[in-house]
Structures are given as structure tokens and as C-alpha cells.
């Protein structure tokens, strides 16, 4: 019998494939891999039916491999559990590996495993427990967490460091699934921070860092412990974690940051590990950001950081370079000046072969420009653009040029003629295939907002219209013609030779419809301008000729296939035709009675009136509108955007007329808005919008009728008009007149100086600027510049400009940007609505936002100053927490208040005496290697001065007494626990959703076998950390 069994085994085993055979088979069947694997899976299914555990084990091992190739093996879940439960370590390990690869917290099979895993956790063999912990960490479910939390906690105090280490890490996973475990487990976890084994210590730091990253405020009281660890430990991995944690804590407690500066600075000086150095710098930066004021010597720290970062950036290692630039951009936000000193370095990075580094450098440029260096930087960027290969990168460069120039309303652009020239050069480079629209927007924006530069702009644009050739490529650069045509038309008054421009616009060209439409529109503008000139000069023949000419040329547009162009051209033709008829009438009339040529130069009054009317069409100045203004305009009372403007079926007269008026009302308000904003600029602007004026009574009646209709309509979403809202609406249009419009003073001398040599190339401006600077500075760059013109300081609206006036030696802005934006009443420029995206209901960390019973780090300080009275053990901490949790809610509330008071009290005391423990720490903070941490493997770690050792010992004792003092005890809050439960439920749901998104996909890829034997070549161990 026994023999038979063995024999059976033998034969079965003989014909079973093992993992190696499977892999070999798959490699030999590259062409029909899927088919081969499906036959293998059939075999595996056979094997799984056998009684022999070794056979099953082999099958599961094969399944694990197949899973990696993308096959679902969850059907074998039960067999995997069987293998996991084997008493043999070999099988157990294979089983747990398979489980960790294919089980997930929602697997229903997991409830079968609870007792088995518990048995493994309590196994005599530490590797049984270790394997169980490793596997469990991948698939632990809320139920398993709840059931096994105690076992894992017991393992945290195991005698074997290996198990302690794993159990500590495991607890984090337990907390995520079962937040209730956090409170009871926390004292033990805290204890592990001082575990004799460095691995356990490191694991505990790791777990607390993960916890604190999401809910930093709850872990603030642990700061002294971490501070001690930071100054004593030599395990770089742990140091990095601690320092990262401090980076998260400092924003909450600025005083902590102040204490940190010095030890971190020391670490920066002493460490040889780049990773540690980098994290130190990062945290110092975070500290400096959080305590932006009130640090006397923080400029030294900044300097140090920037210096060290410079070393990183200069390093040949691309990784360090990348990280250096990344950290630089953080400094840039708060201390732009210190970064600006390294402009050369950052500009050099623009030439780097690595694109991610180039992009990082570009990011930095954004913050580094000043009035002084903008021209230079842009010149370099233009140079890069000419050389750069790859349109994506060129596009990015173009975008950055515009971004750095346009930032904060052209803060750094001192000379807009230069800027326009740059824009035109960008257009001529023909690089930005995607950004044509962006350039067009910039052109429009500058022309509208900088009145002084308009004359220059119209001439530039005329040239552009004249010379720009639309290439057949699929780029969007032709968009600039839209802007150019609009600018020359709108600011026709600034043109030197309007007729020439008109002819350029009338030239027949192949352009997209929307641009041709703008052409036609602006032809009329130019025509109006020229006709007015003719009127002034009493030049009747000239006017007639002009009409004829334009009419003739517009025929080309009349035949356009674009409906918009056709319509506009037709309207324009009709308008001009009207004028010409009047003129021709006069011609005849003049011939009849030339005696009446007393006034008007023979031009009939009707024609004069028409020309004036046309001019009025385009009178008035446009001012820029804030990008989000439209979105923020509150819906006017009674305006229903969902309502029919024209009711579909013919209804009774009243309702149709009401909807008609509705429309009119909308336009009336918009019209007055425009007129109002145009202020004094548009004389007689009211004439422009002739509309039906309804009496208030009529309006009111219509509104009532409409409201009645709406209220009886079930499909109509009723608005909830608030009193304030309607008031705001009412105010809105009245107040638009009050929006201040700055009359911007010109800096006459500057403009005059520029007019002398109008050049095409933007470099000219740079040279000019440099000449000016050298002239003013007496040949030296660094010399102080004379005071800025008083004139320019007068204007109230140039806040941006004034704010930067402290910088010395910067060139005077020649042009001033109009920063007035058209904004609805009661709307701020800040984008408050953009920050809602952060909330993630599935984040398990929300449930872990539990206040913990941590000895407040203020408390010992208070006690120590009052000659520490009652040092009691930490064990007591748990007891009051439990009693309070069972008390009634009202009591709890009271207790909460009390706690608050206590908090306040301690805060007050803090100011006087607190922070002393930290100060104590710092006084003796020369970092020393603690003897128990210097294991052989840490030899490569940073070497720190040994001299401070005895000093340190003393400090440690002092701290022990402090730590043992009791602190403020917080209360369990049941609401939080409930919240935790619901959060974990929602987490479950998320997984289900993911599951449902399953799609089928097959892989076809062949690997050349020759590569496999190549050794991985790890001859350059860096190992700086370990």
C-alpha cells in the first residue's frame, strides 16, 4: 500500500512539470504562448485535485508565475489557502507568495484564513511568522485586521528583532484597515522608537512618518523624541524619514522650525550622503518658508542651501542635477533673490541633453526674471529656440517666453516696444505650431492695456500683415493675423498711412473664415477713419474714390465660402453703397446748383451724417475683461437662461412679446455696461445701441407674468433669490461707471528716446538698456540708480509696479500696463473655487485622524521649570482615556472644553517657559553616533565627531526624566471612530469599482534570447545610505 502510494507519487511527479519546465515551455512556445499556457492551466487544475501537498505546492508555484503574465488565478484561491496551511515552510512560503500576488482585501476566501494565519503568527519558527506577515501585508482586510490586531501587537514585543520589525510595519496596514487599533497600539509603537534594534527603530519611524504625513498635527507632540533620534542616530535611512517628517511638521509649529535649523545645518555640513543632504536642504527650505519672518540669521541658511544646491546642480550626475533644480524652485517661491544669483547655472541647464532637466530649468526661469535681466533672458531663450530640435521643446520654450514676460501683468516688462518686437520675432521663427493663439492673445492684450505702445503696435502689425505668409503646414500661427487685423482696425487713429494698411487688408488672401471676418470688420473701421479724414479735408473726390475702391475689393470677400465673411462683407458693402449713393446724388446736385457750395466742401449733409454714424459704430474704447469675470457675473434676477427666447409654438401675443423683451433687456444691460466702461472716451455712446426702451411698469408686469409661468412649470428649477443677491445685481450696472479707469501718464523722455531709433530686432532694446544702465551707473553695474521719476509714482493703480520699486538698479519701465480689469461687483480676483479638488473620500488616512495620547512636549517643560513634581509612568496614560470614553456625552463635552482651556493655559505657559526642552536639546546638539547604532554595516555612513560623546550622555539622562512626566491626555472621540468605519467601507467600494473595470488584453512580444545571459553589471555600488 505504502509502496503503491510512493510509486504513484513517483510517476505523477515524473510527468508533472515543475516551474522550470513551465518557464522553459513558455519560452519554447513563443508563437502560441496563450495556447500553451491554457494547456498548462488545465494540467495545473489536474494537479490541484491530487491529495499530495507537494504536487499542489508545485502547481501553485506555477500559477504564481502565470499570474505575472497577466492571467487570473483567483479560481485557485482555495488551493492556495491549502498550500499556505501546510506545515512545511517551503510550501507555506509558496502559498503565501501566491496569496500576496492574487488575494486582495475584498477576497471572500480571506475569512477562511484567520485562524491559520494566527497559528502561523504564533509559530515557533520565526520565519513562519515572517512569511505570514509579509503575505498578510499585501492582502489584509478590515476583518483580518480586527481579528489579528492583537496577535500582531503581541509580536511587536517579540524577543526576535526580525519579527518585531515586521510586526511594527504590519501595524500600519492594520491601522489603515482598522483605525480603531491605532489608539491602543500607539504607546507600544512609540516605545519601539527607542528599541535597541536599529531595524525595529527604523520601522517604527517609518510607520509614524506614514501616519504623520497625512495627519501631522496629531504627531506634533512626538517632535522631541524625533529630535533626539535625529541628533543621535546614524542610520541614514531613518534620518531621511525623520527629516522628511519634520518637513511636514514645521508648517504647523514655527518654533519647531527654528530649533531645527541648526542641527539640520550641521547635518548639511557633515554628511557625505547626497540623499541625506538633499532631504536636509528640503526641510530647511520648508522651515524657512514657514518662518518667513523673524529669523535673524536665516539668510545664512538660505545661502547655505543655495550653495549646496549649486553643487548638486553642477554635479555630473543627472539625478542630482534634477533634484537640485527641483529644490531650487522651492526656494524660488520665497527667496527669489538668492536663486537669481545662480542665473548662469540655470541658464546653462537649458542646454542640457536631458529634457526633464531642461524643463526644470525653464520652470526656474519663470521666477528668476527681473526688470533688469528680462531682456537678456528672453534673448537667450530666443537663441535656444532657434537651435532647439523637436517642435515640442520649441513650443515649450515659446510658451515660457510668453509666460515669463506676461507674468503678473507684465511686471518685468519695462519696454513694450521691445516686447512686441519679441512677439513678432517669435511669429517669424515659426516654431510654435500650437501657440499661435497664445501669441495673438498677447498682442491683443498688450495693445489694449498699454495705450502708449499702440502707435508702435499698429505699425508693426501693418508690417506683419504685409509680410506674413500663411504656410501650408498645420500650424496655428496664422492666428496672429486675427490679432494684427483687429489692432490695426481698432487703433486706426494711430496709423501713419491708413490707406496702405487698408490696401493690405483688402488684398485677396487664402485665410480661414474667422480671420477673414475680422479683416472685413476692420476694413470698415479703417474706411471710417479715412472717410473722416476726407470730410475734414473736404475732399469729395477722394471720398468717392475711396468708396469705389473699397466696394470693388470687398467683392472678393462677398464670394467667400464662409458664411460669416459673406455676411459681414455684404453688410459692409451695403453701408458703403449707401454712402456712395448720397455722394453721387450730390455730384448731380452740385452740377445743378453749384452756387450752394457754401459749407461742407460740397459734401452733402446726409453723407456727412452717414460717415459720422459709421465712425460712431466704432467709437469708444474697450478695456480688458478679467478672464473669469463672465463666470462670476451673478445671474440677473429674472433672467432664465433655460427659457425659450422664441417660444416654439405660436402663442398668444403677450408671452411672445415678453420673451422678445426679455432678449432686449439682456442686450440693453450689456450695452450700457460697455458704454459705461468706455467712460468719457466714447462721446455719444448712447447712440450706438438703439433699443426699445420699456417703462419700468412694463418690465415689472412682464417679469411678474414670467415668474407666474415659471412657478407653475414643474420643469423649471426655482431660483432662491436672496435679498443681497438681487441688491448686488441691481448695483452691478449702476456701479460700472464708478470703476476707476486710470489715465496713465507717459514717461515722455523714455518714449522719445526710443522713437529715435525704431529697430526691428529686439536686441537693440537690450543694447539700449545696457547703455542706459552703464550711463547711469557711471560704468558700473552694481551702482545705485537714481530715484525713479516722481511722475510715475503718482498713479494709484500701479500697485504691481510700486511693489517692486525696492530693487535697485532696475531699469525704469517705459510703459505702464493698465491693470484695471472689468469685473463684476463684489468679485475678487482670487480663484477661490479652484481648491476643492483635494478632498478624497476614499483616503483611508482620513479615518486615522485620531488624536493620540502623546505626552505633550510642552508639558515636561512646564514641569521641569517648576522643579518636576510627579514623574509617573507612561502606563497610566491609557487609563484615563478609557474611563472618559465610557462617560456620557455631556461629560465628554465638558471635558473637551476643559482640555481646550488646558491647551490654552499650556500655550500661555509655553510662551514663558516652554520650548526649553528643545532649547536644551539644541544646546547640546552636536550629533554623535550612538554606540548601539554603529553596526558594521553602517560604516559607510556619515562620520560625525566623537568628541561630543560624554556631553551627549548627560543630555540623554536629562531627557529621560522629562519624557517620563505625564502630559495632557486626550479623549477618545467616538464620532471619529464611526467615521473611520464608514471610510473603510467606502474603501471597499472603490475596490469593487476597480474590479468592474476589467478589460481583456493580450500581450504579444518577443524577446531575443541572446540578451539573457548578459550579466547585469552592477560594478558601481553607490550604497551611500546603507
Amino acid at each position: 500500500m505504502a509502496l503503491k502510494k510512493v510509486k504513484g507519487n513517483f510517476f505523477e511527479r515524473m510527468f508533472d512539470k515543475n516551474l522550470t519546465d513551465l518557464v522553459r515551455g513558455i519560452r519554447n512556445n513563443k508563437d502560441n504562448e496563450a495556447k500553451y499556457i491554457s494547456t498548462c492551466i488545465e494540467e495545473i487544475k489536474q494537479e490541484l485535485r491530487q491529495d499530495n501537498i507537494n504536487v499542489k505546492c508545485n502547481a501553485v508555484a506555477k500559477l504564481t508565475y502565470i499570474q505575472m503574465l497577466g492571467y487570473d488565478i483567483s479560481w485557485a484561491g482555495f488551493n492556495i489557502i491549502e498550500v499556505m496551511s501546510s506545515s512545511r515552510f517551503t510550501c507555506k512560503r509558496i502559498g503565501y507568495l501566491a496569496a500576496s500576488q492574487c488575494f486582495h482585501p475584498d477576497s471572500e476566501l480571506l475569512m477562511l484564513t484567520t485562524n491559520m494565519i494566527r497559528k502561523d503568527l504564533n509559530s515557533q519558527n520565526q520565519y513562519d511568522a515572517g512569511v505570514a506577515l509579509s503575505g498578510l501585508s499585501c492582502f489584509i482586510s478590515p476583518d483580518l485586521s480586527r481579528d489579528l490586531a492583537n496577535d500582531i501587537m503581541t509580536l511587536m514585543s517579540s524577543t526576535k528583532p526580525y519579527l518585531r520589525m515586521k510586526a511594527v510595519l504590519m501595524m500600519y496596514k492594520v491601522f489603515l484597515r482598522y483605525p480603531e487599533a491605532l489608539r491602543p497600539a500607539f504607546p507600544k509603537l512609540k516605545e519601539k522608537l527607542e528599541d535597541p534594534d536599529p531595524g525595529v527603530q527604523s520601522a517604527a519611524v517609518n510607520v509614524i512618518c506614514e501616519l504623520a504625513r497625512k495627519n501631522p498635527k496629531n504627531y506634533l507632540p512626538l517632535a522631541p523624541i524625533f529630535f533626539k533620534l535625529m541628533t543621535t542616530s546614524t542610520n541614514n535611512w531613518m534620518l531621511i524619514k525623520i527629516i522628511k517628517l519634520f518637513g511636514a511638521l514645521t508648517p504647523l509649529e514655527p518654533r519647531l522650525g527654528k530649533k531645527l535649523i541648526e542641527p539640520l545645518t550641521n547635518l548639511i555640513h557633515s554628511t557625505s550622503a547626497m540623499s541625506l543632504l538633499y532631504e536636509c536642504i528640503n526641510t530647511v527650505i520648508a522651515v524657512l518658508i514657514s518662518i518667513s519672518s523673524g529669523m535673524p540669521n536665516h539668510s545664512a541658511s538660505i545661502q547655505l542651501c543655495v550653495q549646496k544646491l549649486r553643487i548638486l546642480i553642477e554635479d555630473s550626475d543627472q539625478n542630482l542635477k534634477y533634484l537640485g533644480l527641483l529644490a531650487m524652485s522651492k526656494i524660488l517661491k520665497t527667496h527669489p533673490k538668492s536663486v537669481q544669483a545662480h542665473k548662469d547655472l540655470i541658464l546653462a541647464c537649458l542646454d542640457d541633453k536631458d529634457e526633464s532637466i531642461r524643463l526644470r530649468a525653464l520652470d526656474l526661469l519663470y521666477g528668476m526674471v527681473s526688470k533688469k535681466n528680462l531682456m537678456e533672458i528672453v534673448k537667450r531663450l530666443l537663441g535656444h529656440m532657434e537651435r532647439a530640435e523637436g517642435s515640442a521643446y520649441r513650443d515649450e520654450l515659446l510658451y515660457k517666453v510668453i509666460e515669463i514676460c506676461g507674468q503678473s501683468s507684465y511686471l518685468y516688462v519695462t519696454n513694450f516696444e521691445w516686447y512686441l518686437t519679441v512677439l513678432v520675432e517669435l511669429i517669424q521663427l515659426e516654431a510654435g505650431s500650437r501657440h499661435g493663439r497664445l501669441i495673438a492673445e498677447q498682442l491683443l492684450d498688450v495693445a489694449i492695456r498699454v495705450p502708449v505702445v499702440r502707435q508702435f503696435a499698429v505699425n508693426e502689425m501693418t508690417n506683419l500683415l504685409d509680410t506674413f505668409t500663411v504656410s501650408a503646414q498645420s500650424n496655428s500661427m496664422y492666428e496672429v493675423l486675427y490679432a494684427a487685423a483687429w489692432i490695426v482696425g481698432e487703433f486706426a487713429g494711430e496709423l501713419e498711412d491708413a490707406e496702405k494698411t487698408l490696401n493690405i487688408l483688402l488684398r485677396p488672401r487664402q485665410l480661414p473664415g474667422h480671420i477673414q471676418g475680422v479683416y472685413v470688420q476692420n476694413v470698415i473701421k479703417l474706411f471710417a477713419r479715412l472717410a473722416t479724414t476726407c470730410l475734414e479735408l473736404q475732399d469729395l473726390p477722394g471720398l468717392v474714390k475711396l468708396c469705389e475702391h473699397v466696394l470693388e475689393k470687398l467683392q472678393h470677400f462677398n464670394g467667400s465660402s464662409d458664411i460669416e465673411v459673406q455676411e459681414r462683407a455684404n453688410s459692409a458693402c451695403m453701408l458703403i453703397e449707401m454712402l456712395r449713393t448720397q455722394l453721387s446724388v450730390t455730384d448731380e446736385g452740385m452740377a445743378l446748383m453749384d452756387t450752394t457750395t457754401t459749407e461742407g466742401g460740397g459734401i452733402p449733409p446726409l453723407a456727412i451724417e452717414i460717415v459720422q454714424e459709421i465712425t460712431l459704430l466704432f467709437a469708444g474704447e474697450l478695456i480688458p475683461v478679467a478672464p473669469k469675470a463672465q463666470r462670476k457675473v451673478p445671474l440677473p434676477d429674472g433672467l432664465d437662461l433655460d427659457e425659450w427666447i422664441n417660444p416654439p409654438p405660436p402663442e398668444d401675443a403677450a408671452s411672445s412679446s415678453s420673451s422678445e423683451h426679455d432678449k432686449d433687456e439682456l442686450f440693453v444691460s450689456a450695452g450700457t455696461g460697455v458704454d459705461g466702461s468706455s467712460g468719457g472716451g466714447g462721446s455719444g455712446g448712447g447712440k450706438r445701441r438703439q433699443s426699445l426702451e420699456l417703462t419700468p411698469e412694463q418690465l415689472e408686469r412682464q417679469r411678474m407674468a414670467r415668474l407666474l409661468e415659471q412657478s407653475s412649470n414643474p420643469h423649471y428649477l426655482k431660483s432662491t433669490p436672496t435679498a443681497s443677491g438681487s441688491a448686488a445685481n441691481a448695483d452691478q450696472y449702476d456701479n460700472i461707471d464708478d470703476i476707476p479707469i486710470t489715465e496713465l501718464p507717459l514717461d515722455m523722455e523714455g518714449v522719445a528716446a526710443l522713437r529715435v531709433g525704431i529697430t526691428k530686432r529686439s536686441d537693440k532694446y537690450l543694447q539700449e538698456q545696457q547703455q542706459q544702465a552703464s550711463a547711469q551707473g557711471g560704468g558700473k553695474d552694481g551702482k545705485k540708480k537714481h530715484k525713479k521719476g516722481k511722475k510715475s509714482k503718482k498713479s494709484k493703480n500701479k500697485v504691481a509696479y510700486n511693489s517692486s520699486s525696492e530693487s535697485e538698479g532696475e531699469p525704469k519701465p517705459l510703459h505702464i500696463v493698465n491693470t484695471t480689469l472689468d469685473m463684476p461687483e463684489g468679485v475678487s480676483m482670487s480663484d477661490s473655487e479652484d481648491k476643492d479638488g483635494k478632498y478624497d473620500p476614499h483616503d483611508p488616512h482620513r479615518a486615522l485622524d485620531i488624536e493620540l495620547d502623546i505626552t505633550d512636549f510642552e508639558a515636561p517643560a512646564v514641569r521641569s521649570t517648576t522643579s518636576s513634581k510627579k514623574p509617573s509612568g507612561k502606563e497610566n496614560l491609557k487609563v484615563p482615556a478609557e474611563t472618559t470614553s465610557s462617560s456620557s456625552t455631556s461629560k465628554k463635552d465638558r471635558k473637551k472644553d476643559k482640555d481646550k482651556d488646558k491647551d490654552r493655559e499650556s500655550k500661555r505657559e509655553r510662551k514663558a517657559a516652554a520650548a526649553q526642552p528643545v532649547i536644551d536639546l539644541i544646546d547640546a546638539n552636536t550629533p554623535t553616533p550612538s554606540p548601539r547604532h554603529t553596526s558594521s554595516n553602517n560604516a559607510s555612513n556619515s562620520v560625525l565627531p566623537d568628541a561630543a560623546k560624554p556631553h551627549k550622555q548627560k543630555k540623554k539622562n536629562k531627557e529621560k526624566t522629562q519624557a517620563s512626566a505625564p502630559g495632557i491626555i486626550d479623549i477618545v472621540q467616538e464620532e471619529e471612530l464611526n467615521e473611520a468605519e464608514s471610510a473603510s467601507k467606502s474603501h471597499k467600494k472603490k475596490h469593487k469599482k476597480e474590479k468592474s473595470q476589467r478589460k481583456e488584453k493580450k500581450k504579444t512580444s518577443s524577446a531575443s534570447a541572446t540578451d539573457y545571459e548578459q550579466p547585469l553589471g552592477i560594478s558601481t555600488p553607490s550604497k551611500e545610505i546603507f
Binding site: N206, K353, Q997, K1001, D1011, Y1012
Partner: protein, 191 residues
């Protein structure tokens, strides 16, 4: 936290995949494929950090990778991990593999995927770094291997025999035996 550890070769064939967050198999394959596409188009002399792909992570996650000969080792981590630290961890991982397999090459990873998993589980547990010291890691692995060997003991003898027989590659050897010669030899053999 480490979200995933992927090892694949220059052609994108997975050699090891370890996800510390559950994704179903097809999504896993998609992630591997996407990661491969992101990583493989980068030169060897550029930096080893990469903003995360669309499938895994998001803005908080980074791909940190190293390229050794024919293999890419990619770690997908969030911002709580130090970039340079992870790079060193990858180095430790590969050096450990090198020690365990003696001059490791891609074939070792192909045929001993399970062993690679066991090694990895001594470095990283549930997405958190467990041990970074190579000597400790090696000690743990060796102790576990010892247990496996002990357990194998006698009961594994037939298995070893089978595998020995298998590795003899019988079909090939049978073919290799020159059968036609044999009758000839017999013929030639005169009694």
C-alpha cells in the same frame, strides 16, 4: 510608500511584478506596459526620475528606475520616499540578487521568479522598506534557504532524481544516439 515594484526587460516582458495595492491582472499588465513605454524611450544618460504614468499614482507618485543591462527595475513611490534613497534601495536589491545568484543575469530572474520574490520580501514589506542592510538581508535569506533544504531532505530525493533525469533531456539524448550504427555494428560483429 512604495506602490509597485516592476522588473521587465528591454522588450517590456515582465520578470517580476509586485503591487502593494490591488489591481486586477489585466490592469497590472496595462500598468507594466505603460511604465515600459515611459521608461524605455529614455536615454541611459538622463535622470532616473519620471513623473508617474496615468494608470498608477497621480501627481504625488514618481517612477524611480534603474537600467541594468537587459533589465529595468522600476519602483513606483509616493512623495514620502526619498528619491535618492530609493535609487540606493534598487542598487541594494540588485546587489543582493547578484550575491544570491552569483553573477545574476536575466535568465536567473526568469527561472527563479519565486526566489526573487522571496528576496524582495526581505527588503520591502507591504510597500514599506523593511531592511536596507545587505548583510542582514543575506543572513535572513540564507537561514530560510537552510530550512528549505532541511525540509527537502529525504523526501525530496525522488524529486531531485526526477529533475536530474529531466535535465538529462532524454528525447534529445535518444535522438543523439546513432541508432543506424548499432545494427551495422551488430552485423559486423561476427560470431
Amino acid at each position: 510608500m512604495i506602490k509597485a515594484i516592476l522588473v521587465f526587460n528591454n522588450h517590456g516582458k515582465p520578470r517580476l511584478s509586485k503591487f502593494y495595492q490591488y489591481f486586477d491582472e489585466s490592469l497590472q499588465q496595462q500598468i507594466i506596459k505603460e511604465t515600459f513605454q515611459l521608461v524605455s524611450k529614455r536615454d541611459d544618460n538622463v535622470c532616473n526620475f519620471l513623473e508617474g504614468g496615468s494608470l498608477i499614482g497621480g501627481s504625488d507618485y514618481k517612477l524611480i528606475y534603474r537600467h541594468y543591462a537587459t533589465l529595468y527595475f522600476v519602483f513606483c513611490v509616493d512623495s514620502s520616499e526619498s528619491e535618492l534613497g530609493i535609487l540606493d534601495l534598487i542598487q541594494v536589491f540588485v546587489e543582493t540578487l547578484d550575491k544570491c545568484f552569483e553573477n545574476v543575469c536575466e535568465l536567473d530572474l526568469i527561472f527563479h521568479a519565486d526566489a526573487v520574490h522571496h528576496i524582495l520580501s526581505e527588503l520591502v514589506m507591504g510597500g514599506m522598506v523593511l531592511q536596507t542592510n545587505m548583510n542582514d538581508i543575506m543572513a535572513r535569506i540564507e537561514e530560510q534557504n537552510k530550512i528549505v533544504k532541511q525540509e527537502a531532505g529525504i523526501s525530496a530525493a525522488p524529486a531531485r532524481a526526477v529533475s536530474a533525469v529531466k535535465s538529462m533531456n532524454i528525447p534529445q539524448q535518444i535522438k543523439d544516439i546513432k541508432l543506424p550504427d548499432l545494427p551495422q555494428a551488430i552485423k559486423d560483429f561476427k560470431f
